[in-house]
Symmetry: C2
Subunit: 164 residues, 2 copies
DNA sequence: CGCAACCGATTGTGATTTGCAACCACTTGC
DNA sequence: GCAAGTGGTTGCAAATCACAATCGGTTGCG
């Protein structure tokens, strides 16, 4: 994954995030609000192995997509955060979600967020990116109400409860 | 790559095209108009190995992203084509190109197409997808002039000649 | 007809990456 | 003091990958 093959933008993007796990990790940090190693390790549905997670976090840091800071509440805890380049992956992830939702057998609970993000269009993505900047970069909060993340979460819970 | 891990749309999309080569092949078929095994094998800048190419073509066919037909001019020649689901990957590839162009060290010749597609927005993508449907699915030609593919090609050649 | 070039692959071989489970040194809360 | 939790590391088997050589068949050309 580290051999440069060509200067094509699509190829270069694939060299950075074109593996099985990098985008899963970014997705969990983005939409699942997971910021710690063990949160990323255990709670994700896909079940990444700890050595792979450690390797990917290292690599994503080296590529400048995520940052790492000490958690003041626990000397051993690390807080991982998305950087601006990673936040700008939102439109890409939305397109991935939209395509998967249309063409693959997704479960309704997990597709409702993709649907809302797709229907919301670039303006909604932009609001969501501002929220991520506030949460991960310490940027001033955009002060939309309700925040996009909350709207997504509520829609998800509604579908889940309806299914029960 | 064939173990289903979760029903999340992003994850499912990654399971289909989240490897190093599948999207490169689709990119070459889409923007490079490569339709034969040997065209895909040799002329791409990244240099895929023939066994990997054969494996990926098989897999993409099984997933319904590409089709295969006999070339009437040569009994051993196969013509590969994009299916509708693959054509609908255009917005995803555009976003990949846009992100790579912004954040990675792309060469100017190879980034001009990404730039035009990004700036053209969804209407341009839609025109381009109609052209792909005409070329790959035998759909009626959209009859725009000049076609998007030609505009992209001309812009590329202009940058190349300017660099020379 | 003869033969070189071309066709979509397949085979064989090592190198790399992955998945899995166990384990590690250390910190925290009780 | 001790169990639970922290971010990882290690060892090993299995899968995947890259690279080069090769294959049986087809085509164009003399």
């Amino acid at each position: 994954m580290d051999v440069q093959r060509s200067g094509c933008p699509i190829n270069l993007t694939l060299e950075v995030v074109g593996d099985r796990w990098s985008l899963i990790i970014i997705r969990d940090m983005m939409f699942g609000n997971r910021r710690h190693f063990r949160e990323l390790l255990g709670r994700s549905e896909e079940g990444i192995a700890s050595n792979i997670l450690a390797d990917r976090l290292k690599r994503l840091m080296a590529e400048g997509l995520i940052g790492r800071a000490d958690d003041p509440t626990h000397k051993q805890k690390a807080i991982y955060s998305l950087t601006e380049p990673a936040i700008q992956l939102v439109p890409l992830l939305v397109q991935m979600g939209a395509w998967g939702r249309r063409h693959l057998g997704v479960t309704p609970e997990l597709s409702i967020r993709a649907q809302l993000l797709e229907e919301g269009g670039p303006e909604l993505w932009s609001d969501f990116m501002d929220e991520l900047r506030a949460a991960h970069l310490g940027a001033p909060a955009p002060d939309k109400s309700p925040p996009v993340s909350q709207r997504l979460q509520r829609a998800y819970e509604e579908v889940v409860s309806r299914a029960a």
